[in-house]
Symmetry: C2
Subunit: 169 residues, 2 copies
Amino acid sequence: MTEQPDEYGVDSESTMDSERTVAELEDRWRRALADLDNLRKRYARELDRERADERGRVALAWLPVLDNLELALDHVQRDLSHDAGTLAQGLLAVRDQAIVVLSGLGYERYDETGVPFDPVRHEAVVARTEDKLPPGTVLEVLRAGYGDGKRQLRPAAVVVSAAPADQAE
Amino acid sequence: MTEQPDEYGVDSESTMDSERTVAELEDRWRRALADLDNLRKRYARELDRERADERGRVALAWLPVLDNLELALDHVQRDLSHDAGTLAQGLLAVRDQAIVVLSGLGYERYDETGVPFDPVRHEAVVARTEDKLPPGTVLEVLRAGYGDGKRQLRPAAVVVSAAPADQAE
């Protein structure tokens, strides 16, 4: 039932009875404080709900990946004569599906080698001396990274080139 | 730099100069309106950030599942003499890990049979006449459900019992 702030309006004409002016201003002020309080409470509830909605949305996006993993497993367990290669083929599709889910959430997969090491996108787990490439080049990706640098889910774990010892001295 | 609402305090003693009272009340009111406006803007930003944080948190929880799926695949592709049964064994662990992730997010898996059909938790995809069990009993779970009824991610797809035709008439 509270009015919008812009509808309150200010009218301090000297012809107005000053006691009425004071009472009215106090009333406006109190209503603004009540609005402030209600807004705080409403936003706290909204924040909880938005967080839960987002959690559900993301979890739901992953369910088909789990479903397909289970379908592949059921298939194998019903007929154990399948060779591992055939099963692996089916599971590559599940893997690709998971990568599409991540991309849809804004986390693109990357695993390029030969690019300069970027501390935001890469985590160097091993350094290897290498004289054909400049130091600080990604030589190998041990675990793919996800994100675009700005919205980073996980850096790629990489092997990075180091200058040979005689050059480093 | 705005004061907290409870610190404003109201002082309408008649000894105060009424013009000063009016000016002060107007000032308080305007500050309350400014607070209201700032609060609106701040929450809009927070909402975006909280949503993105939650998205990242949930996506990150799933990454180890994908990592382990890939490890299992690498393992097979390096040595295709593995039998499908061994691979399936490893993948069951990946499946279980995914179920733990979902449970950690608040979506418990369920696939009980013999329980009464619950339209919130179950989706009947097939009805089967069955005279040993009361109608509306879950006979088979075709796809597991996730959630606790209040926070439901996905209902279970089930086969439900129906009364034989002669009883239904």
